[in-house]
């Protein structure tokens, strides 16, 4: 009985091995494009700089 169980386990494992998912590296290198986000961050930071500049130097920006 024990032997039978071991055998069936072996068969099951073999079956699992043959049906395993193959992971293959993509042919093209993976590129993560951060440019858009970085550009947005730069703009947001510059906008804050601009706001501060106007607030701190009202004489340069008379209304």
């Amino acid at each position: 009985m024990w032997r039978l169980t071991r055998m069936s386990l072996g068969v099951a494992l073999a079956g699992a091995a043959s049906g395993c998912i193959q992971v293959r590296a993509p042919e093209k290198p993976i590129e993560i494009n951060l440019n858009v986000k970085i550009q947005q961050e730069v703009v947001v930071r510059l906008q804050q700089d601009a706001k501060d500049l106007i607030q701190n130097n009202p004489e340069l920006f008379p209304q």
Partner: protein, 134 residues
């Protein structure tokens, strides 16, 4: 000794008078440009600088030039700090000035477009301004 003192006194006097002269026009430039903005002869441009619409007095022209020079100095400093071009820094500031420093009835200009008068609503900003909050 007296001679040296008198030189020092003269230098100090010169410094003080220069300071007084230097400080006075700064306020005046401000006021002159404000008045010209209200009169519709001077307006904000999307490039971050003040522009002149039509012909103005030499006083107004001088005040606009002086403020623009000071603005450029400020843009240059910030641009260097952030690693961007002076033009970009000026243009981003232009987004802000168009959004917050132009009152209804005052004139403004986007790019090399015509001078326009601000209405009741907000100015339609260039796309690159993104979400320039006021």
């Amino acid at each position: 000794m007296t001679y040296r003192h008198s030189i020092r006194a003269a230098a100090l006097a010169a410094l003080f008078s220069f300071g007084a002269l230097g400080a006075a026009p700064a306020v005046a430039q401000d006021a002159v440009v404000s008045a010209a903005k209200a009169a519709g002869t001077v307006g904000e441009q999307s490039d971050g600088y003040l522009g002149i619409n039509g012909s103005v007095s030499s006083e107004v022209r001088a005040a606009v030039d002086a403020l623009n020079i000071k603005r450029r100095a400020a843009y240059t400093e910030l641009a260097a700090k952030r690693g961007v071009t002076v033009q970009d820094m000026a243009a981003v500031t232009g987004c802000q000035t168009l959004a917050s420093r132009v009152s209804q009835g005052q004139i403004y200009r986007i790019g090399s477009g015509p001078w326009e008068t601000k209405g009741a609503g907000p100015i339609a900003l260039p796309d690159y301004c993104g979400t320039a909050t006021r």
